[in-house]
Amino acid sequence: MKLLEATGLSINFAGRTILDDVGFGIDKGEFIGLIGPNGSGKTTLLRALSGLLSNQKNNIKFLGLSLSDYDPKQLAQKLAYLPQGNESHWSLTVENLAMLGRLPHRKPWQGASKADHKIVQQVLQDCDVSQFAKHTINTLSGGERARVFLSRALAVEPQLLLADEPIAGLDPGHQLEVMNKFRQLSKSGMGIVCVIHDLTLAARYCHKLVMLGEQKIISQGMPEHVLSKKNLARCFNIRAHISKVDGQALVIPIALCSTANLASKK
């Protein structure tokens, strides 16, 4: 049984087609990178998969059960969604913010248990933000903030994590750290779908890539297969240098294919 399987996702917003009859599947322990240009529907796909688009719920099966058949709380215990932007409307402490990830596991009126505190301490350590535990979120830098929000999603201890650009704004060291963490989590059975713009890291860490463009999936499968010169030109309109260093994939954009192509896209 697939961890999550979606078929026939067709999504329109205000008359504009975002996705047209897209299918998507992920197995337990799989780490999938979602790539594609701005506006190609990566976030929309992620929102649909997490059950936020109510008219798509029937098309998505999670652990063999349609999303529309789930009690919201039950689903929230198993599936975590990390939105883009890392917004926090109040300046909570880092610890309290990460603790929000434990909410789906609590009964009404129940406070945070010892186990909850232990899990939060662990995820704060995993994301390298435990030194800020007592600080308020608005005193942190963008990258530190991103790691705190990731820890919030991990605190859910989900079976499937849907993360929208979790490493955007992180320094190279912390990018590698988070990708390593994802790899490790997927090894222990968690499914991870992650929107990512760094093609080199995507190629190096993800088991599988899904390339979105032109309202559909242009290509999907093994990273070396998806990140071909032809696909990169079609999807991003770029010419890229693709090679290997120490056996690790390297994808470096060199130039735009043609300015005419970009203009015609607009």
Partner: protein, 338 residues
């Protein structure tokens, strides 16, 4: 460095102890203060079930219901303000924003205008509660079932303006100056000369409202992360918003129905206490409720102490102190605002 570290469990505990202590003191002071002087010994005697019948009468018929109403209305305003600020994620929201206060006022004013309030005393608060309930229905109708927060606020503002306009119309068309004056005085907000009947009438609505609001504590915490993240944490946003609107409407509506509009408490108190609960919306609910009760009781005692001849209205005093105080608070906490 130290000021970047926010409140922890211990400061929270201290805050709640302090608030409860302050509440006890303000409640007692509220029983003690009034036009007819009661000695401290006499007051204690009456509380213990002894004392002169005349003093007992003042205590049970005038002072006690007034203090209880001050307590309950204060909790309602503080709790309602904290809940709405948390829900809208906006520190400038106050319970009147969604139109219930104006609608409750209108309902009460209509009973004065038609002379119904003269026929039996409870017509006025009943009219107020009817007005508040009508406002909830109207807001739900205007905003639609799957309402966004913005639509909800806009619907509230529309209801509020329309109710205020109708209240002005009632003033405008009032048959004689005495009715107009009565309406105007009532609109200023006061809990003077209320009886236990007012308490019994409004208390159930307020208590149910508190329950509905306190039940949303976890959802309010989750809303710190925005609506989509809240939904992904297993909360039904539409249900949360409906329950918060209804909770505020019936509690604040019932409070307004017995007291008239008392401003600024629902706005200032959450603001004042937020930093002491580490900005946590859930903890702020209860803290703000207790703080609202303290402030209302203090203001109501001050009204009695300051009055010479014409009684100063509670709503006038809260606005008079509240507005500059709020301004000062904004200047001081500008850095803390998100």
């Amino acid at each position: 460095m130290k000021k970047h570290l926010a409140a922890n469990g211990k400061t929270e505990q201290r805050l709640f102890t302090l608030l409860l202590l302050l509440l006890l003191i303000t409640f007692f002071v509220s029983l003690f203060v009034g036009t007819s002087h009661i000695d401290f010994d006499e007051l204690i005697a009456v509380i213990l079930g002894e004392g002169k019948p005349s003093v007992q009468l003042i205590f049970y018929e005038i002072r006690l219901p007034r203090a209880i109403l001050g307590l309950m209305i204060g909790i309602t305003l503080g709790l309602g303000g904290a809940a709405l600020q948390g829900f809208l994620r906006n520190p400038l929201a106050e319970p009147g924003l969604i139109g219930v206060s104006s609608a409750a006022s209108l309902g009460a004013v209509i009973t004065i205008y038609t002379g119904l309030s003269g026929l039996f005393a409870l017509a006025l608060p009943l009219g107020g509660i009817a007005g508040a309930l009508a406002a909830v229905l109207l807001i739900q109708l205007l905003a639609g079932r799957n309402s966004s927060t913005l639509r909800l606020i806009l619907a509230g503002i529309a209801v509020s303006s329309f109710a205020s306009a109708l209240t002005s119309l009632a003033l405008n068309l009032s048959p004689n100056p005495f009715v107009a004056l009565e309406i105007m005085f009532w609109l200023m907000g006061s809990i003077a000369n209320r009886s236990f009947e007012h308490v019994f009438l409004s208390a159930p609505f307020m208590v149910i409202g508190w329950g509905l609001l306190l039940m949303q504590a976890k959802a309010l915490d989750a809303l710190t992360l925005g609506e989509e993240a809240t939904q992904s944490l297993g909360f039904n946003i539409n249900q949360v918003s409906r329950l918060i609107i209804i909770g505020i409407a019936i509690s604040v509506g019932a409070a307004t129905a017995v007291s008239g509009a008392i401003g600024f408490i629902g706005l200032v108190v959450p603001h004042l206490l937020r930093r002491w609960v580490g900005h946590k919306p859930s903890t702020l609910l209860l803290a703000s409720g207790l703080g609202g009760a303290c402030l209302t009781l203090m203001a109501d005692s001050a009204v009695r102490l300051l009055s010479t001849g014409t009684e100063l209205k509670l709503g006038v005093l809260t606005a008079l102190i509240g507005a500059p105080f709020f301004l000062m608070l904004i200047m001081k906490t500008q850095k803390d605002l998100p």
